[in-house]
Symmetry: C2
């Protein structure tokens, strides 16, 4: 074999930004080629399934990142409040304090949802359930309700932040949600 350099991961990262920016329909192969630096031939070499496989790879990569950085800690970390605080930090970082959009959420709103229904559902369900578990361990009274609220409010904050073009909306929302959970003080 030759040149088994894994450019695919790099391509997936670039693809993520393209889909985030243009949406599924809006991301034409020409802009994809331009932004990834790969020709159509290379793209179809890495992703024989075409656009659908590209978007699928992006969604898988996103879910993998959240699983590692957020869901797993929420599930496994002994110090549940710390894991929850970490979730807020990682979320803020991932979404660039409101300057970045949630691709999964954006897909959920469009007709593409049907195509990736399982992945989209899985992403949010895993988040909600992992957070609910951590909240329960942290002694929260209504962990399921609260978890659903937090996950959904984060999405809404991303929508509103972009709608009014003010990332601060997102930052405020995260702070509000975190303090609203009434977690014990970090050093307690």
């Amino acid at each position: 074999m030759a040149r088994t350099v894994n450019e695919r991961p790099d391509a997936v990262a670039a693809l993520a930004e393209v889909f985030r920016e243009y949406g599924y329909e809006g991301a034409s192969l020409s802009v994809i080629a331009a932004r990834t630096g790969l020709g159509k031939g290379s793209l179809y070499h890495f992703f024989p399934g075409g656009k659908e496989e590209m978007a699928g790879a992006v969604l898988a990569e996103i879910e993998g990142w959240f699983e590692r950085a957020v869901y797993a800690p929420l599930r496994e970390e002994a110090d549940a409040p710390a894991a929850i605080r970490r979730m807020f930090r990682e979320t803020d970082a991932y979404f660039r304090s409101g300057r970045r959009v949630c691709l999964v959420g954006a897909f959920a709103l469009g007709e593409v949802r049907d195509r990736f229904a399982a992945r989209i559902d899985g992403y949010f369900a895993a988040w909600r359930d992992a957070l609910a578990g951590a909240l329960r361990r942290a002694g929260h009274g209504e962990p399921e309700e609260a978890a659903e609220h937090v996950v959904s409010a984060i999405q809404g904050a991303l929508v509103l932040a972009r709608a009014v073009d003010d990332p601060a909306v997102f930052v405020r929302a995260l702070r509000r949600l975190e303090t609203g959970l009434g977690l014990p003080a970090p050093g307690a």
Copy 2:
């Protein structure tokens, strides 16, 4: 003049559903023609500006509806808590208890945002400000914060409801938000 039947409003209503379902890019003129029952000729007669004017008309119609049914009451109704409760009722009805998507929110997430930035920003800003005013009149302690939270959480609930394909998520969110505001009991 002849046949000045106003089919344009009907067309706008149909257009709204098409854009909601397919998004801006995804709504091709062929599906628009099919769903409105109008040929290309008629469409370009009513909307000389093409797709962009169609989407603009839809956004204007949506904003008009909310202005009449929600924002104006929030601003003018003497009984502020009643206006707020009415907002939740109308919102639930408009979004079909979570089965319908917010077109403005969906547009906000995509690249189309730039094209309709003013309209999108205006829609959310008007909602937030009208609600903040009503909350202040209702004696709420932090009306701006609370209003931003409610508007954003409603959007998030629509995203999550569609993502996990469970409209109940939206209904629960509305109830949670309304009770969270601590409004005086209806008969007080």
